[in-house]
């Protein structure tokens, strides 16, 4: 309905000031606004929104190593790292259940203890090739540890898919913007699904280089600038496709576009045919070149001993280093066949404990060479109870040693396990991390009431790791909460 009012001279006066527009002016403005609302909202605004380029994480060298070892099965976790509280109350029963020789052989690594005669402890104390004993002791002095202890694991494959593997990118910024996964085949933590990563089945420098290289090598086919120009064009084509197919209005559509587009831009670095090899061949990494070819180290008495890198260890050393230097996100390793009960201590248990301890040695050496903070998460989905230890003859990096290896007796996933974490600080001030869960005199554990499940434990370990290396804890917390982790970070974190 239109209400007409007779115009007077006052209308003209007021109109000149613009306070009370005339009916005609009011309608004229309404007409303009109406047309603008209908036309511009349906074309220009939407087109402008669709034309926005994807928001790619800025590549940056942010120092800080993050890694995880997932020991799949049920190893004698009690014969690996031990907390101060466990060490203090260590008795013959507890030592036998864990598979270590006893309290007398426990030595400190920060606030942690290891049995110096066990395969695990002896390997950690021997250190990597190219280090003197004194140099390695200095590295170990910059380590601290903590963990969520509990009986929330299962054994014999049980619980293997409860999300015990996490991720670091993009919470941890890096140059390549993705994590490195080695032999990961079980389910990730819910919050880690979809995080960018590259996977290799076996850790060798060549395998790692391949996933960061082009096939065929760039040479006559492409180069960095043509690939960047191609990525620009693909992004522009993606924006046209967004408009044509309405992708931005569909759940996940923008994520698919951004992941592809950002990955394309990231591929430009691979146009250098030596890019991958230079990243993952320690001899080609200036900071690692000094130890890459080493074949000896010294023991505590100053005696030179054989100590050589395996191919796997060289790959891990380089991968951990690139994480520490900020080139890569995190490095996540899954070791299979760790269901220890009934296995031969000399032929199976000791070599596998040595393999995992050597991986930890490579991690610490990489942090040392990168001069970066580091956090390594170390857990299993099971635990084997032991019937003491027995003497075995093994080699650590080619060095022949006599060890006290665990006699894994039976499954004990419901008695003891620990989601452990190591912290490294090149300045020598690693955080004073805590252990949760109460240990009884048999070595069994009652979980902390605030850590109700392995899901909470894994989340807490990752938040602690990210906090230590200066990554984006807030972003990770938001992702975890979205995935259903209800506990507050202060409940979950270890410091």
């Amino acid at each position: 309905m239109l209400i007409r009012l007779k115009r007077t001279h006052k209308d003209a006066i007021c109109h000149s000031h613009g306070h009370h527009p005339s009916r005609r002016a009011f309608l004229r403005r309404g007409l303009a606004a109406g047309i603008a609302t209908v036309v511009f909202s349906r074309t220009m605004v939407e087109d402008a929104m669709a034309a926005l380029p994807p928001s790619c994480p800025q590549p940056m060298l942010a120092k800080g190593a993050l890694a995880q070892i997932f020991s799949e099965g049920g190893p004698t976790m009690g014969a690996r790292f031990i907390g101060d509280d466990q060490a203090t109350s260590m008795n013959a029963t507890m030592a036998a259940n864990y598979g270590i020789s006893g309290q007398a052989n426990l030595v400190s690594i920060g606030n942690l203890r290891v049995d110096k005669t066990s395969p695990f402890g002896a390997t950690l104390l021997q250190g990597p090739p190219g280090y003197t004993s004194a140099q390695w002791q200095a590295v170990l002095a910059r380590v601290s540890g903590g963990g969520h202890r509990g009986q929330f694991n299962q054994d014999d494959g049980g619980g293997v898919d409860t999300g015990l593997l996490g991720g670091a990118s993009p919470f941890k910024s890096s140059q390549i913007g993705k994590d490195i996964r080695i032999a990961n085949s079980n389910k990730l933590a819910t919050w880690a699904n979809g995080l960018p990563s590259s996977l290799v089945k076996t850790a060798t420098p060549a395998n790692l280089a391949k996933v960061f290289s082009l096939t065929p090598a760039a040479g006559t086919f492409t180069n960095s600038s043509s690939m960047t120009a191609s990525a620009d064009a693909a992004t522009a084509l993606g924006q046209v496709l967004t408009r044509v197919f309405g992708i931005d209005k569909r759940k996940g559509g923008s994520e698919v576009l951004a992941a592809t587009s950002c990955g394309f831009y990231g591929s430009a670095a691979l146009a250098d045919p030596n890019y991958g090899l230079n990243l993952f061949t320690p001899a080609n990494v200036p900071a690692l070149a000094g130890i890459a070819g080493a074949t000896t180290s010294t023991d505590a008495a100053g005696k030179t001993i054989t100590n050589t890198f395996s191919t796997q260890e060289l790959a891990l050393l380089a991968a951990f280093y690139q994480s520490g230097a900020g080139v890569a996100g995190g490095v996540f390793i899954e070791y299979f066949g760790r269901d220890y009960h009934g296995q031969d201590p000399q032929g199976v248990i000791a070599p596998r404990d040595i393999e995992e301890a050597r991986a930890i040695v490579m991690f610490l050496a990489a942090c040392d060479k990168a001069q970066s903070r580091g956090a390594m998460i170390y857990l299993s989905n099971g635990q084997a109870i032991a019937a003491g230890a027995q003497q075995t003859a093994n080699t650590i990096g080619g060095n022949a040693v006599t060890l006290n290896s665990p006699i894994a007796d039976g499954d004990a996933g419901g008695s003891y396990n620990a989601g452990l974490i190591l912290f490294y600080d090149p300045a020598g001030s690693p955080p004073a991390a805590r252990f949760t869960g109460k240990v009884d005199l048999n070595g069994n554990v009652k979980i902390d009431s605030r850590i109700a499940s392995s899901r909470d434990a894994v989340a807490g370990l990752y938040l602690s790791a990210l906090q230590h290396i200066g990554a984006d804890v807030g972003k990770a917390t938001a992702a975890m909460q979205k995935a259903g982790i209800a506990r507050t970070p202060s409940d979950l974190m270890l410091f």
Binding site: R24, S197, A236, L241, K251, E255
Partner: protein
């Protein structure tokens, strides 16, 4: 009696159109029967996009490019290396490995022959701008069932490819050849329909 001017009537119509635009159209549900909606009409229940899984990626690349074979050449070698890192699930929020698609596309593009797209192997990029863009449009059409050249956005697709070719022709830092230019066009024109359509 004072007459209502045409301007006022137009304003009234426009205002009513504005108000009407705020409400969903009564016939937008295709299941309600009747004529199909006009192109561009928002349909309820569009739902989620999908990420292409590894096999879908390989199949789409093969469909998009002339003469590439997932069982032979660089394409086959790259599949062996990259396939485990390609998306394993269609959930677009959880899928990982989309960043690997351009790497696989690159390998396939090195298997494609310039002659298959009437692109000369010699000459300057500027002089061969038209065949390069035509090659890109042909690849887009193969991956998009002809939408690139026949749809209303055809000019936009061509403009994106023209910008790419112009950039390559003007590259002072690196000497671009017809081969590098063809592969750049091929990578853009294949990666987009393989992984940026949402499906």
């Amino acid at each position: 009696m004072k007459r209502t001017s045409p301007l006022l009537l137009a304003a009234l119509v426009a205002s009513l159109a504005t108000i009407a635009a705020c409400f969903p159209p009564a016939t937008s549900d295709p299941s309600a029967g009747g004529l199909p909606p006009e192109p561009g009409t928002d349909l309820p229940g569009l739902g989620s996009a999908s990420a292409p899984t590894a096999d879908a990626v390989i199949g789409r690349i093969r469909n998009t490019l002339i003469g590439v074979d997932p069982l032979a050449g660089n394409f086959a070698k790259a599949i062996a290396q990259v396939k485990p890192n390609l998306p394993q699930m269609t959930n677009p929020v959880q899928a990982t490995g989309l960043d690997q698609i351009p790497l696989l596309v690159y390998a396939a593009c090195t298997d494609a022959k310039l002659a298959s797209y009437n692109v000369p192997t010699t000459g300057t990029i500027s002089a061969n701008s038209a065949p390069l863009i035509a090659a890109g449009m042909k690849m887009l059409d193969a991956g998009l069932a002809g939408v690139a050249s026949q749809g209303a956005s055809s000019g936009d697709f061509q403009a994106a490819l023209q910008a790419l070719v112009s950039t390559l022709a003007a590259d002072k830092a690196t000497t671009q050849t017809m081969t590098t230019s063809f592969i750049a066009v091929c990578m853009a024109s294949t990666t987009a329909p393989v992984s940026m359509v949402g499906y």
